[in-house]
């Protein structure tokens, strides 16, 4: 319940405040969002599996975001930021797909 409330509140806040993203954050924000989405899907799946752990969720959430941003940052320094961003998004996308499939099996038993 809390995660859903938090998500809704965050979306509303973003709609109301409508801030502009500072320039230095612009390459990292989308990657961070995707990484955090991955963590949230993983957490939801663990919840359905009955093995959800708050500590694991928090740590995986934070480390996912940090590692993703770090990879993009490294890529920027090496001059392959765009490609590495794509790579990160692809990997996270695959993981999100896998988690979504597991959730689907739980919910629809199919």
């Amino acid at each position: 319940m809390i995660p859903i409330l938090g998500l809704v509140a965050g979306v509303l806040l973003g709609l109301l405040l409508d801030p502009t993203v500072p320039l230095w954050l612009q390459p990292y924000l989308p990657i961070g969002v995707v990484a955090a989405l991955d963590a949230v899907f993983g957490g939801f799946r663990a919840r359905l599996d009955g093995i959800f752990d708050a500590k694991v969720f928090v740590i995986s959430f934070v480390s996912n975001v940090v590692v993703a941003a770090l990879i993009v940052f490294l890529g920027d320094q090496l001059g392959v930021g765009a490609q590495l961003s794509t790579a990160v998004v692809v990997v996270l996308g695959i993981r999100i797909f896998g988690n979504a499939a597991a959730i689907r099996r739980h919910v629809f038993r199919a």
Binding site: I2, Q26, V40, I51, R95
Partner: protein, 248 residues
């Protein structure tokens, strides 16, 4: 892919205790904050990428057209800027021109007023006292004084309380002389502004004013003054026939 082992969060080895659904408060708070941040960042990112998405999804021809439009608009705006700049420059330069012209006119007016005798003047000069015990001085003698002083660079003077200007006339008979129709009586006191040394030298040359006055039984006392005030005024004559020629 549907048979992938569970990924990150449901880490293997985590022992879900039975009845561990009660999370402690800090963890719940952390989760709430994290998801709130995620929602916030998600919305911001979606909002932010809205504008860029328009261009990112556009085809090449559209992009070329958009670039064309933007650059032509830039050219137009730049022309506008240049126009406004030149207009501004014109306005400011004409402003300063008229200001300096006004200042020049003011200084000319001031010096003309001193020359004409319509304004009081102050400066270094001579104070002459012309004595005429025998009433022998004639019109020409006084005119000689005025001319000699003018020739020596006198800028303005007053003669026994009468300001001497362009059209000043000396009339009358010896002993009853008049300047501009006003009677004057000896001793005549002359205040004159100009270079004191030059004027005194001019008055004292052999055959000059001092000698001429002395030859008629009078005397001229010359005193150099570092600061004199000539405060007798003349009315400004209205030009009846002559009008300024304004054609340059």
């Amino acid at each position: 892919m549907s048979t992938d082992p569970p990924v990150d969060p449901p880490a293997a080895g985590e022992e879900p205790e039975p009845g561990a659904r009660r999370r402690d408060l800090p963890a719940a708070l952390l989760i709430g904050v994290l998801t709130l941040l995620l929602g916030f960042a998600f919305t911001v990112q979606v909002r932010n990428s809205d504008d860029e998405q328009v261009l990112a999804g556009a085809r090449e021809e559209d992009l070329v057209r958009i670039v064309d439009e933007v650059s032509s608009r830039g050219v137009r705006l730049r022309e506008q800027i240049a126009d406004q700049r030149s207009a501004l420059r014109q306005l400011t330069s004409s402003d300063s021109e008229s200001a300096s012209a006004l200042e020049e006119a003011r200084t000319r007016e001031a010096s003309l007023a001193v020359l004409n005798g319509t304004a009081p003047a102050r400066g270094p000069g001579l104070r002459l006292t012309i004595r005429d015990p025998d009433d022998e001085l004639r019109v020409t003698d006084l005119l000689d004084v005025v001319q000699e002083l003018r020739g020596a660079g006198a800028e303005t003077m007053q003669f026994d309380g009468v300001r001497v200007g362009l059209s000043t006339a000396v009339t009358g008979a010896p002993g009853a002389l008049m300047i501009d129709g006003r009677p004057i009586t000896a001793p005549y006191e002359v205040l004159v502004l100009g270079s004191p040394q030059d004027m005194e030298t001019a008055l004292n040359i052999p055959g000059g004013v001092v000698q001429a006055v002395g030859g008629r039984g009078g005397s001229v006392e010359v005193v150099q003054q570092p600061e004199l005030v000539v405060d007798a005024l003349r009315p400004l004559p209205d030009a009846q026939y002559a009008a300024p020629d304004t054609d340059d």
